[in-house]
Symmetry: C2
Protein backbone atom coordinates (compact mmCIF):
# COMPACT_ATOMS: atom_id res chain seq x y z
CA UNK A 1 0.00 0.00 0.00
CA UNK A 2 3.01 2.28 0.24
CA UNK A 3 2.91 2.70 -3.53
CA UNK A 4 -0.54 4.24 -3.15
CA UNK A 5 0.67 6.61 -0.44
CA UNK A 6 3.69 7.60 -2.53
CA UNK A 7 1.37 8.24 -5.47
CA UNK A 8 -0.88 10.33 -3.19
CA UNK A 9 2.12 12.44 -2.12
CA UNK A 10 3.09 13.08 -5.74
CA UNK A 11 -0.44 14.00 -6.80
CA UNK A 12 -0.85 16.23 -3.76
CA UNK A 13 2.41 18.08 -4.40
CA UNK A 14 1.54 18.65 -8.04
CA UNK A 15 -2.21 19.24 -8.06
CA UNK A 16 -2.87 20.51 -4.53
CA UNK A 17 -5.48 19.17 -2.16
CA UNK A 18 -8.57 20.62 -3.87
CA UNK A 19 -7.71 19.17 -7.29
CA UNK A 20 -6.49 15.81 -5.95
CA UNK A 21 -8.72 12.89 -7.00
CA UNK A 22 -8.80 9.18 -6.13
CA UNK A 23 -8.72 8.52 -9.90
CA UNK A 24 -5.41 10.34 -10.27
CA UNK A 25 -3.88 8.58 -7.27
CA UNK A 26 -5.06 5.13 -8.41
CA UNK A 27 -3.81 5.71 -11.96
CA UNK A 28 -0.40 6.84 -10.74
CA UNK A 29 -0.09 3.86 -8.38
CA UNK A 30 -1.34 1.43 -11.06
CA UNK A 31 -4.16 0.07 -8.90
CA UNK A 32 -7.95 0.27 -9.06
CA UNK A 33 -9.80 3.11 -7.44
CA UNK A 34 -11.66 0.56 -5.31
CA UNK A 35 -8.37 -0.61 -3.84
CA UNK A 36 -7.67 2.91 -2.67
CA UNK A 37 -11.18 3.58 -1.34
CA UNK A 38 -11.31 0.30 0.56
CA UNK A 39 -8.32 1.27 2.67
CA UNK A 40 -8.84 5.06 2.85
CA UNK A 41 -12.55 5.89 2.47
CA UNK A 42 -12.14 9.70 2.37
CA UNK A 43 -9.65 12.17 0.97
CA UNK A 44 -8.63 13.39 4.44
CA UNK A 45 -7.95 9.73 5.43
CA UNK A 46 -5.71 9.27 2.41
CA UNK A 47 -3.88 12.58 2.86
CA UNK A 48 -3.31 11.94 6.57
CA UNK A 49 -1.83 8.50 5.88
CA UNK A 50 0.37 9.86 3.10
CA UNK A 51 1.73 12.71 5.24
CA UNK A 52 2.45 10.37 8.15
CA UNK A 53 4.29 8.03 5.80
CA UNK A 54 6.39 10.95 4.58
CA UNK A 55 7.34 11.69 8.18
CA UNK A 56 8.13 8.05 8.88
CA UNK A 57 10.44 7.59 5.90
CA UNK A 58 12.40 10.77 6.57
CA UNK A 59 16.09 9.82 6.77
CA UNK A 60 17.03 8.84 10.32
CA UNK A 61 19.65 10.84 12.16
CA UNK A 62 22.34 8.95 14.09
CA UNK A 63 22.88 9.57 17.81
CA UNK A 64 26.08 11.63 17.88
CA UNK A 65 26.44 11.63 21.67
CA UNK A 66 26.07 15.40 22.11
CA UNK A 67 22.98 17.58 21.86
CA UNK A 68 24.71 20.05 19.54
CA UNK A 69 25.79 17.20 17.27
CA UNK A 70 22.34 15.61 17.30
CA UNK A 71 20.55 18.87 16.42
CA UNK A 72 22.94 19.59 13.56
CA UNK A 73 22.60 16.01 12.32
CA UNK A 74 18.79 16.21 12.41
CA UNK A 75 18.89 19.53 10.52
CA UNK A 76 21.27 18.05 7.97
CA UNK A 77 19.37 14.88 7.11
CA UNK A 78 15.97 16.59 7.13
CA UNK A 79 16.55 19.99 5.62
CA UNK A 80 20.06 20.42 4.23
CA UNK A 81 20.87 17.21 2.36
CA UNK A 82 19.07 16.52 -0.88
CA UNK A 83 16.71 13.58 -0.61
CA UNK A 84 13.52 12.45 -2.26
CA UNK A 85 11.72 13.02 1.05
CA UNK A 86 13.04 16.56 1.37
CA UNK A 87 11.93 17.43 -2.17
CA UNK A 88 8.52 15.98 -1.41
CA UNK A 89 8.21 17.92 1.83
CA UNK A 90 9.07 21.13 -0.02
CA UNK A 91 6.56 20.31 -2.76
CA UNK A 92 3.87 19.69 -0.18
CA UNK A 93 4.55 22.88 1.74
CA UNK A 94 4.13 24.75 -1.53
CA UNK A 95 1.08 22.74 -2.55
CA UNK A 96 -2.39 23.73 -1.63
CA UNK A 97 -3.42 22.26 1.69
CA UNK A 98 -5.30 25.49 2.37
CA UNK A 99 -8.74 24.32 1.50
CA UNK A 100 -8.89 21.44 3.93
CA UNK A 101 -11.58 22.64 6.27
CA UNK A 102 -10.30 24.29 9.43
CA UNK A 103 -11.07 21.41 11.73
CA UNK A 104 -9.27 18.85 9.56
CA UNK A 105 -6.34 21.15 8.91
CA UNK A 106 -5.87 21.81 12.59
CA UNK A 107 -5.85 18.13 13.51
CA UNK A 108 -3.71 17.07 10.57
CA UNK A 109 -1.14 19.84 11.00
CA UNK A 110 -0.67 19.03 14.67
CA UNK A 111 -0.52 15.29 14.14
CA UNK A 112 2.10 15.40 11.39
CA UNK A 113 4.18 18.02 13.17
CA UNK A 114 4.15 16.22 16.51
CA UNK A 115 5.22 13.01 14.81
CA UNK A 116 7.98 14.82 12.92
CA UNK A 117 9.22 16.46 16.13
CA UNK A 118 9.45 13.24 18.17
CA UNK A 119 13.10 12.43 17.34
CA UNK A 120 14.12 16.05 18.03
CA UNK A 121 12.31 16.07 21.39
CA UNK A 122 14.10 12.81 22.24
CA UNK A 123 17.49 14.34 21.36
CA UNK A 124 16.85 17.36 23.62
CA UNK A 125 15.71 15.08 26.44
CA UNK A 126 18.92 13.04 26.12
CA UNK A 127 20.88 16.32 26.30
CA UNK A 128 19.05 17.37 29.47
CA UNK A 129 19.64 13.93 31.00
CA UNK A 130 23.39 14.26 30.24
CA UNK A 131 23.42 17.67 31.96
CA UNK A 132 24.08 19.66 28.76
CA UNK A 133 21.00 21.81 29.46
CA UNK A 134 19.39 22.68 32.81
CA UNK A 135 16.68 20.40 34.25
CA UNK A 136 13.19 21.58 33.32
CA UNK A 137 14.27 22.74 29.84
CA UNK A 138 11.29 22.70 27.49
CA UNK A 139 12.25 20.61 24.40
CA UNK A 140 9.75 22.52 22.22
CA UNK A 141 11.37 25.83 23.10
CA UNK A 142 14.74 24.48 21.94
CA UNK A 143 13.60 22.75 18.76
CA UNK A 144 11.07 25.29 17.44
CA UNK A 145 13.44 28.26 16.96
CA UNK A 146 15.92 26.00 15.16
CA UNK A 147 13.61 24.01 12.91
CA UNK A 148 10.98 26.71 12.27
CA UNK A 149 13.81 29.02 11.16
CA UNK A 150 15.38 26.42 8.85
CA UNK A 151 11.97 25.64 7.36
CA UNK A 152 11.37 29.35 6.86
CA UNK A 153 14.69 29.66 5.02
CA UNK A 154 14.11 26.61 2.81
CA UNK A 155 10.35 26.78 2.24
CA UNK A 156 9.56 30.52 2.31
CA UNK A 157 12.81 32.17 1.28
CA UNK A 158 13.84 29.38 -1.11
CA UNK A 159 17.36 29.46 0.27
CA UNK A 160 19.68 26.49 0.35
CA UNK A 161 20.85 26.88 3.94
CA UNK A 162 24.40 25.70 4.39
CA UNK A 163 25.66 23.63 7.29
CA UNK A 164 27.58 26.59 8.74
CA UNK A 165 24.49 28.79 9.07
CA UNK A 166 22.55 25.89 10.61
CA UNK A 167 25.36 25.39 13.13
CA UNK A 168 25.30 29.08 14.05
CA UNK A 169 21.54 28.89 14.63
CA UNK A 170 21.94 25.79 16.85
CA UNK A 171 24.72 27.53 18.81
CA UNK A 172 22.57 30.66 19.32
CA UNK A 173 19.62 28.68 20.72
CA UNK A 174 21.84 26.41 22.86
CA UNK A 175 23.64 29.46 24.31
CA UNK A 176 20.27 30.86 25.42
CA UNK A 177 19.07 27.47 26.69
CA UNK A 178 22.28 26.85 28.68
CA UNK A 179 21.65 30.19 30.40
CA UNK A 180 18.33 28.71 31.57
CA UNK A 181 16.17 30.77 29.19
CA UNK A 182 14.36 27.66 27.88
CA UNK A 183 13.36 26.30 31.28
CA UNK A 184 9.63 25.62 31.27
CA UNK A 185 7.66 28.35 33.04
CA UNK A 186 6.90 27.10 36.53
CA UNK A 187 9.35 24.17 36.27
CA UNK A 188 11.57 25.61 38.99
CA UNK A 189 8.60 25.90 41.38
CA UNK A 190 7.37 22.42 40.53
CA UNK A 191 10.57 20.72 41.64
CA UNK B 1 -7.01 51.44 -6.00
CA UNK B 2 -6.65 50.04 -2.49
CA UNK B 3 -10.18 48.65 -2.76
CA UNK B 4 -9.00 46.51 -5.66
CA UNK B 5 -5.99 45.27 -3.72
CA UNK B 6 -8.14 44.48 -0.68
CA UNK B 7 -10.51 42.57 -2.97
CA UNK B 8 -7.54 40.70 -4.45
CA UNK B 9 -6.38 39.70 -0.96
CA UNK B 10 -9.83 38.37 -0.09
CA UNK B 11 -10.18 36.40 -3.33
CA UNK B 12 -6.66 35.04 -2.96
CA UNK B 13 -7.25 33.89 0.60
CA UNK B 14 -10.52 32.18 -0.33
CA UNK B 15 -9.91 30.77 -3.80
CA UNK B 16 -6.13 30.37 -3.88
CA UNK B 17 -3.83 31.65 -6.60
CA UNK B 18 -4.74 29.15 -9.31
CA UNK B 19 -8.49 29.79 -9.08
CA UNK B 20 -8.17 33.58 -8.66
CA UNK B 21 -9.59 35.52 -11.63
CA UNK B 22 -9.63 39.21 -12.59
CA UNK B 23 -13.42 38.87 -12.93
CA UNK B 24 -13.78 37.82 -9.29
CA UNK B 25 -11.49 40.59 -8.06
CA UNK B 26 -13.26 43.25 -10.14
CA UNK B 27 -16.71 42.07 -9.02
CA UNK B 28 -15.69 42.09 -5.36
CA UNK B 29 -14.17 45.57 -5.67
CA UNK B 30 -17.17 46.88 -7.64
CA UNK B 31 -15.06 48.08 -10.57
CA UNK B 32 -14.70 47.01 -14.20
CA UNK B 33 -12.20 44.36 -15.17
CA UNK B 34 -10.54 46.90 -17.49
CA UNK B 35 -9.81 49.12 -14.49
CA UNK B 36 -7.94 46.26 -12.84
CA UNK B 37 -6.05 45.20 -15.99
CA UNK B 38 -5.00 48.74 -16.82
CA UNK B 39 -3.12 49.06 -13.55
CA UNK B 40 -1.96 45.44 -13.08
CA UNK B 41 -1.66 43.73 -16.48
CA UNK B 42 -0.90 40.23 -15.13
CA UNK B 43 -1.97 38.09 -12.20
CA UNK B 44 1.54 38.09 -10.67
CA UNK B 45 1.53 41.93 -10.88
CA UNK B 46 -1.77 42.09 -9.03
CA UNK B 47 -0.78 39.52 -6.39
CA UNK B 48 2.57 41.22 -5.77
CA UNK B 49 0.89 44.62 -5.26
CA UNK B 50 -1.75 43.10 -2.97
CA UNK B 51 0.82 41.30 -0.80
CA UNK B 52 2.97 44.42 -0.50
CA UNK B 53 -0.08 46.42 0.51
CA UNK B 54 -0.82 43.85 3.22
CA UNK B 55 2.69 44.31 4.56
CA UNK B 56 2.40 48.11 4.44
CA UNK B 57 -0.88 48.29 6.34
CA UNK B 58 0.27 45.94 9.10
CA UNK B 59 -0.20 47.73 12.43
CA UNK B 60 2.87 49.78 13.31
CA UNK B 61 4.78 48.99 16.49
CA UNK B 62 5.87 51.87 18.72
CA UNK B 63 9.53 52.37 19.66
CA UNK B 64 9.65 51.20 23.28
CA UNK B 65 13.26 52.25 23.88
CA UNK B 66 14.60 48.73 24.52
CA UNK B 67 15.25 45.91 22.08
CA UNK B 68 13.37 43.40 24.21
CA UNK B 69 10.37 45.75 24.38
CA UNK B 70 10.49 46.44 20.64
CA UNK B 71 10.62 42.75 19.68
CA UNK B 72 7.72 41.88 21.99
CA UNK B 73 5.74 44.85 20.68
CA UNK B 74 6.36 43.79 17.05
CA UNK B 75 5.30 40.23 17.86
CA UNK B 76 2.20 41.52 19.61
CA UNK B 77 0.87 43.82 16.90
CA UNK B 78 1.74 41.44 14.07
CA UNK B 79 0.97 38.00 15.39
CA UNK B 80 -0.71 38.05 18.80
CA UNK B 81 -3.36 40.77 18.63
CA UNK B 82 -6.43 40.15 16.51
CA UNK B 83 -6.54 42.43 13.49
CA UNK B 84 -7.98 42.33 10.02
CA UNK B 85 -4.42 42.23 8.64
CA UNK B 86 -3.46 39.29 10.83
CA UNK B 87 -6.53 37.32 9.74
CA UNK B 88 -5.67 38.08 6.13
CA UNK B 89 -2.06 37.04 6.55
CA UNK B 90 -3.21 33.74 8.08
CA UNK B 91 -5.70 33.24 5.26
CA UNK B 92 -3.00 33.82 2.68
CA UNK B 93 -0.50 31.50 4.29
CA UNK B 94 -3.16 28.80 4.16
CA UNK B 95 -4.20 29.71 0.63
CA UNK B 96 -2.59 28.25 -2.40
CA UNK B 97 0.36 30.30 -3.54
CA UNK B 98 2.08 27.06 -4.46
CA UNK B 99 1.37 27.09 -8.17
CA UNK B 100 3.02 30.40 -8.90
CA UNK B 101 5.89 29.25 -11.04
CA UNK B 102 9.15 28.82 -9.16
CA UNK B 103 10.80 31.95 -10.48
CA UNK B 104 7.88 34.18 -9.54
CA UNK B 105 7.40 32.51 -6.17
CA UNK B 106 11.03 32.96 -5.29
CA UNK B 107 11.07 36.65 -6.17
CA UNK B 108 7.69 37.39 -4.59
CA UNK B 109 8.42 35.50 -1.38
CA UNK B 110 11.72 37.29 -0.86
CA UNK B 111 10.32 40.71 -1.71
CA UNK B 112 7.35 40.49 0.65
CA UNK B 113 9.41 38.96 3.45
CA UNK B 114 12.21 41.52 3.20
CA UNK B 115 9.69 44.33 3.29
CA UNK B 116 7.93 42.77 6.28
CA UNK B 117 11.24 42.34 8.11
CA UNK B 118 12.45 45.93 7.67
CA UNK B 119 10.99 47.32 10.93
CA UNK B 120 12.37 44.33 12.87
CA UNK B 121 15.84 44.75 11.37
CA UNK B 122 15.67 48.44 12.31
CA UNK B 123 14.74 47.56 15.92
CA UNK B 124 17.72 45.16 16.22
CA UNK B 125 20.06 47.76 14.74
CA UNK B 126 18.85 50.34 17.28
CA UNK B 127 19.53 47.77 20.03
CA UNK B 128 23.06 47.15 18.76
CA UNK B 129 23.67 50.92 18.54
CA UNK B 130 22.53 51.27 22.18
CA UNK B 131 24.96 48.52 23.20
CA UNK B 132 22.27 45.98 24.12
CA UNK B 133 23.83 43.44 21.76
CA UNK B 134 27.47 43.11 20.66
CA UNK B 135 28.66 44.98 17.55
CA UNK B 136 28.50 42.82 14.43
CA UNK B 137 25.28 41.10 15.52
CA UNK B 138 23.38 39.85 12.47
CA UNK B 139 19.81 41.24 12.66
CA UNK B 140 18.46 38.31 10.58
CA UNK B 141 19.87 35.81 13.06
CA UNK B 142 18.00 37.55 15.88
CA UNK B 143 14.68 38.09 14.13
CA UNK B 144 14.32 34.79 12.25
CA UNK B 145 14.23 32.42 15.27
CA UNK B 146 11.65 34.67 16.95
CA UNK B 147 9.31 35.42 14.07
CA UNK B 148 9.65 32.13 12.18
CA UNK B 149 8.75 30.33 15.42
CA UNK B 150 5.73 32.54 16.12
CA UNK B 151 4.54 32.10 12.53
CA UNK B 152 4.99 28.35 12.86
CA UNK B 153 2.87 28.34 16.03
CA UNK B 154 0.11 30.51 14.53
CA UNK B 155 0.08 29.34 10.91
CA UNK B 156 1.11 25.68 11.11
CA UNK B 157 0.08 24.63 14.60
CA UNK B 158 -3.00 26.89 14.72
CA UNK B 159 -2.10 27.93 18.23
CA UNK B 160 -3.01 31.29 19.70
CA UNK B 161 0.38 32.09 21.18
CA UNK B 162 0.11 34.15 24.33
CA UNK B 163 2.26 37.12 25.20
CA UNK B 164 4.08 35.15 27.91
CA UNK B 165 5.32 32.45 25.51
CA UNK B 166 6.38 35.12 23.00
CA UNK B 167 8.33 36.88 25.75
CA UNK B 168 10.08 33.65 26.69
CA UNK B 169 11.09 33.12 23.06
CA UNK B 170 12.46 36.68 22.81
CA UNK B 171 14.40 36.18 26.07
CA UNK B 172 15.88 32.89 24.82
CA UNK B 173 17.17 34.41 21.57
CA UNK B 174 18.41 37.60 23.28
CA UNK B 175 20.28 35.52 25.89
CA UNK B 176 22.12 33.72 23.07
CA UNK B 177 22.71 36.96 21.14
CA UNK B 178 24.05 38.79 24.22
CA UNK B 179 26.58 35.95 24.58
CA UNK B 180 27.80 36.87 21.08
CA UNK B 181 26.25 33.83 19.36
CA UNK B 182 24.51 35.99 16.73
CA UNK B 183 27.60 37.92 15.65
CA UNK B 184 27.92 37.71 11.87
CA UNK B 185 30.54 35.16 10.81
CA UNK B 186 33.72 37.06 9.97
CA UNK B 187 32.46 40.29 11.60
CA UNK B 188 35.18 40.16 14.26
CA UNK B 189 37.94 39.82 11.61
CA UNK B 190 36.45 42.61 9.49
CA UNK B 191 36.75 45.20 12.23
Amino acid sequence: MNDVLDAALDVLARAGYAAMTFDAVAARAGVSKTTVYRRWPTKPDLVRAALLRLVDVFPKARDTGTLRGDLIELARVRLLDDSRERERAIGLMRANLGDLDDQELRALGRLVTERAHQPIVAAVERGVARGELPPGTDPALVLEPIFATLQFRVFVMNEEPDLRSAEQLVDLVLAGARAGAAVRAGAADAR
